[in-house]
């Protein structure tokens, strides 16, 4: 089945061509109206696309930011330990600056742009969704390590970084993009875990080379071809 998946993009592009041609023909004969402009009242944001360029202007400034001597770096195990499952919202690992304030006035003071935080001896991770300011509706602060009842929950497997299709090819994105479409927030700069830190944060259009992972996909077949 593998070969069918691997030509997903080719198939989509071909279909696009078919549609453009097909539609042009249809438009000549019938109502010349673009099918996408259906009767929606306001444009919906493209959720998994919205964040791609969100912080791209910061990318260049991250290029030469390297941890200095004595500045510890983050690694993936610590990154995953904050989450109940990959993709889950991380818990807050430090005391709160102000227990009562909204995120816009406290959390974002550090987590909007990141940087070295001497108090925590760490680089500050950057939020991929700074537009959401009720931070603590998703991110909670564990008071202790106690347990009410043990759990038998087993989280989803962590994403494995796939190899490129051929040596040197850019790897595909191995995780979902919901709430995480802003690549640079997690993959750029010294706060990014070493294992997933990009070597080239200055190239802002990440998804021109990195496609979303290998979705199950059917083969492209040419109808009526030999």
């Amino acid at each position: 089945m593998k070969r069918y998946w691997s030509i997903a993009i080719a198939a989509a592009l071909m279909v696009a061509a078919v549609i453009v041609i097909g539609h042009a023909i249809g438009a000549g004969e019938r109502d010349a109206r673009t099918p996408a402009a259906a009767s929606i009242e306001r444009p919906l944001p493209i959720l998994t696309e919205a964040g791609v360029f969100e912080r791209s202007s910061k990318g260049a400034s991250l290029k030469d930011v390297k941890p200095g001597p004595g500045q510890p770096e983050r690694h993936l195990p610590a990154y995953y330990a904050r989450r109940s499952y990959p993709g889950g919202p991380p818990a807050i690992p430090h005391d709160l600056v102000d227990d009562q304030s909204m995120g816009g006035k406290s959390c974002l003071a550090c987590h909007l742009d990141g940087g070295w935080a001497p108090k925590f001896n760490a680089f500050t991770p950057v939020t991929p969704h700074p537009e959401l300011i009720n931070c603590r509706s998703c991110h909670v602060h564990p008071e202790n390590k106690s347990s009410f009842q043990p759990t038998t929950f087993q989280p989803a497997q962590t994403a494995a970084v796939p190899k490129g299709a051929i040596p040197g090819a850019p790897p595909a994105i191995p995780h979902e993009l919901d709430m995480r479409s802003n690549c640079i927030a997690c993959h750029g700069g010294p706060a990014a875990p070493v294992e997933i830190r990009t070597t080239h944060p200055e190239r802002s259009n990440c998804r021109q080379c990195h496609v979303t992972g290998a979705r199950p996909f059917a083969a492209f077949t040419r109808e009526g071809g030999q």
Partner: protein
């Protein structure tokens, strides 16, 4: 050319403006058709599954005759052999 079982095919169907709901209900009345409507645009995905070549031909004729369709684009056709 296909010689084995009839392939399962999927299409993108563009309805005439304002006719998505009608098109959907007409498609659903044709045996072997499954429909997945888009929620925020006027387009439908159509998946067809027919048992025999004559049934496939009949289906093609029925699709051809639908009044509310603007354009029907084939995306994929898969047979069991190919997918194995």
């Amino acid at each position: 050319m296909q010689t084995g079982p009839v392939p399962i095919k999927s299409y993108i169907a563009w309805p005439l403006p304002g006719k998505a709901a009608e098109l959907q209900s007409q498609l659903l009345q044709i045996p072997g058709c499954q429909v997945l409507p888009a929620e925020n645009r006027e387009l439908l995905l159509l998946i067809t599954d027919t048992p025999t070549e004559p049934a496939e031909k009949l289906l093609a004729a029925q699709l051809e005759a639908l009044p509310h369709i603007q354009c029907l684009s084939l995306v994929a056709g898969i047979t069991e052999e190919e997918a194995a």
